[in-house]
């Protein structure tokens, strides 16, 4: 089966611009998660979708971040306007059942804000 796909793999934008990251989960996986790793820090949870509904968005840093999952398939994460501290690697993961079964992660999007 195809894995979790993220694109772009890299993005370099200027401060104040908008960037949209996309994640295509494994087909049939209702659970979709976004995580972020800022340079030198641990991987931190951003939010969790179950189908098209936000189950938990407690990790979203502020209202400059908007995640959507229309139709319960792919998801987008928009950062508007981007700030320097938003730089990092954004990971998407999906799972069929609960998190205890383990996620399948994508390769990540490396975002650099200059």
């Amino acid at each position: 089966e195809a894995g979790v796909t993220q694109f772009p793999s890299h993005s370099v934008i200027e401060k104040g611009q908008t960037v949209t990251l996309r994640c295509d989960p494994i087909s049939g996986h209702d659970n979709l998660y976004w995580y972020r790793r800022v340079m030198g820090k641990e991987i931190k949870f951003l939010l969790h979708f179950v189908k098209e509904s936000k189950q938990d968005e407690s990790g979203m840093p502020n209202n400059r971040f908007l995640a959507e999952r229309t139709g319960g398939t792919y998801s987008t994460l928009k950062v508007q306007p981007a700030e320097l501290e938003d730089s990092g690697v954004y990971f998407c993961a999906s799972s069929f059942r609960t998190a205890s079964y383990g996620y399948t992660f994508g390769s990540g999007t490396r975002l650099t804000v200059v």
Binding site: Y33, K41, S100, G102, F105, G108
Partner: protein, 111 residues
């Protein structure tokens, strides 16, 4: 709140030597524990997981980990490492339906 601490940020080791990557967790309830690996320029890959049962868990690529409830540890071990094991390793625990990661340990295997 549950948390994970990886005690070593970097572990250099020579090829064919044994290695142990340390992980301690804090939890007052049942734990589900994971080790993930990230090879250069790749995503996170599940190495192994502990949900219940035997405390010794075997994973891919010859890695294993032992769940120790009394010491709240879940250390990762491999008896003989290869150059190809060079990667970053993450210990994680399930909390509130999501994975909580440790800070990561960079394993560097030298010839």
């Amino acid at each position: 709140a549950q948390s994970v601490t990886q005690l070593d940020s970097q572990v250099p080791v020579f090829e064919e030597a044994p290695v142990e990557l340390r992980c301690n967790y804090s939890s007052s309830v049942s734990v589900y524990l994971f080790w993930y690996v990230q090879y250069p320029n790749q995503g996170l890959q599940l190495l192994l997981k502990y949900l219940s049962g035997s405390t010794l868990v075997k994973g891919i690529n010859g890695f294993e980990a032992e769940f120790n409830k009394s010491q709240t540890s879940f250390h990762l071990r491999k008896p003989s490492v290869h150059i190809s094991d060079t990667a970053e390793y993450f210990c994680a625990v399930i909390a509130g339906g999501k994975l909580i990661f440790g800070q990561g340990t960079e394993l560097s295997v030298k010839p």
